[in-house]
Symmetry: C2
Subunit: 333 residues, 2 copies
């Protein structure tokens, strides 16, 4: 069966190296073998930025520019904007009647996220229920395959629960279940070794970073804190520079050799960082260049997004219409 893939990002900042190895490279590869839609999820971005919508709004075209810069081709991948697809909001409201509050509160991903945020006792209703909105997104595009990290599997589970409930209420198979496409690439840590990578923590390199920023970032990168003198043996595990070399350096055998040398002693952190920096400069240079080209042509960006969103609008409205009709709510056609 031909796979239909839905993926996307919350536009809350420019995309960075973590996105690049974690999902963007996969998307570039997938656009030749599957039918792929990328949703710029600004509505979802608002669920924890309700009081600062401009942060979300300002990053929509940034994220689109990132997509184009890494080689996502709007001729082969539909790129669309969530807030311009009202059918997604409609489906969210229908599904919300089939999912209980306690089911949402049990969601492990949301639980973890809530714990990590500064909501206090004031969790926005929209945040608690964003998995329902995701179920709307996935089903509205009839996605069969959804790229996710391990931690997002509960979202897929909830989506398929919604699918089964809707089909049960409708008395027929209106919606289809989806499968997760688990990334084989381990999540890239921040340059400080922290699991969470974000621009505000200053521990990542965004795709538009210039040469000096990349140089500076690699310079600040964590290595082995016990590797004080060059001749000392160093530790490879948890050494962020090696993690990045593993993720980006094309010649795996060479990295294996470097690891042996480092463990043995005699390989300086500065030398290692120089290799990584060159590698990252080489990776990011063409991306930065393409990004600079597209970001200045705002009219073209908007036209690309509008055209993708138009396609998506027809698709999602058809599904919403079908769900409504299956519930008998097609009184006005």
């Amino acid at each position: 069966m031909h796979q239909k893939i839905l993926t996307g990002d919350r536009p809350t900042g420019s995309l960075h190296l973590g996105h690049y190895v974690g999902s963007l490279m996969q998307r570039v590869a997938l656009q030749d073998t599957a039918s792929q839609t990328i949703l710029i999820a600004d509505m979802q971005g608002l669920t924890d930025n309700g009081h600062n919508p401009r942060k979300v709004a300002d990053n929509i075209l940034n994220v689109l520019a990132d997509y184009l810069a890494v080689g996502i081709d709007p001729e082969r991948t539909v790129i669309c904007l969530q807030s311009s697809l009202p059918a997604l909001a409609e489906l969210t409201m229908y599904y919300a009647n089939l999912v209980s509050v306690s089911r949402l509160e049990r969601n492990p991903t949301v639980k973890t996220e809530i714990a990590g945020k500064q909501f206090g006792r004031s969790i926005p209703a929209g945040f608690l229920s964003y998995p329902i909105s995701q179920a709307a997104d996935i089903t509205a595009f009839r996605a069969t395959l959804v790229p996710v990290g391990e931690d997002q599997l509960p979202m897929i589970e909830l989506t398929n629960e919604v699918v089964r409930k809707v089909n049960q209420v409708a008395g027929k198979a209106v919606l289809i279940e989806c499968r997760p496409l688990l990334s084989k690439v381990p999540r890239l840590p921040g340059m400080d070794g922290k699991a969470k990578m974000s621009k505000s923590l200053g521990n990542t390199i965004t795709l538009g970073s210039d040469e000096a920023e990349i140089r500076q970032a690699v310079k600040m990168m964590y290595t082995d804190p016990n590797h004080v003198r060059i001749e000392d043996p160093g530790t490879v595990e948890g050494n962020v520079v090696f993690t990045y070399l593993d993720a980006f350096y094309p010649d795996e055998a060479y990295i294996q050799q470097l690891k042996r040398d480092y463990r043995h002693g005699g390989l300086a952190d500065s030398r290692l960082k120089k290799i990584l920096e060159e590698c990252l400069q080489e990776t990011l240079s063409p991306i930065r260049q393409r990004r600079a080209e597209v970001i200045d042509d705002k009219a073209r960006l908007i036209s690309i997004l509008r055209s993708g969103t138009e396609k998506a609008r027809l698709e999602t409205e058809a599904v919403a219409r079908e769900v409504k009709a299956s519930f008998g709510l097609d009184v006005l056609g």
Copy 2:
């Protein structure tokens, strides 16, 4: 200032005498003095009928027929269908990010309703957050006046909280606050004296009831259980027949006389019921007749609803567009 009124009903059954005295008569009167919109709130009807959407769907045209039967004029009052207005779902999603889960859980109206329903621990997410959806309805029509019962005042309060938050986030007055229009008519009890009146409890008379049904219903009506012999003094307070006479009988002085006679003793329940029955037959006869005329012309009903919904669509989409723009989310115009 010219008032803009939003009112409506959940289409979960045909409308009955309680609706007639509680809101329908007021709406008929208001259509000459204010700009009035009536929303058939099928999306809200689904919030506690998620597993039985056809119950809601099947009552949309019934409720519309009830409106026309009592004299609501689609030329003077916009009648529209909630599920055909996607802007309401969109606004609901924006507002949900500005209202906390605990704020919703504190809502006294929703609390009481949840206690009265059979949700158990499975309160649908859509039900908990229906006050947000109501805020979307009210603001999307720029309503200044919302007819409510005393028990629904917390909904108006929440709506105005949302208005203030949106305006604060937007940095300007995008939305306007509304005021409640409190009904002066006390809530009509069920014919069995119960506060809740519903077709499923069999304690009400729907607007389409035929003569025999009205006769039977009045016959079953609760009076004073201690008024055993005609010559005994009877109690007027809490006597449902008197409550209905108060609500429907046009000659107030005559009812005062009846009350005196009843208290004194010598006025039979059967005589009282006969007076009420005649009054109700007279009230409902023209309504039933008009209802029968309109309910058979399904095409006309649909055309009326479609035309009202089209007007409402333009109105609500304009407000949603304004809210989005004020948040900076007008990237695609």
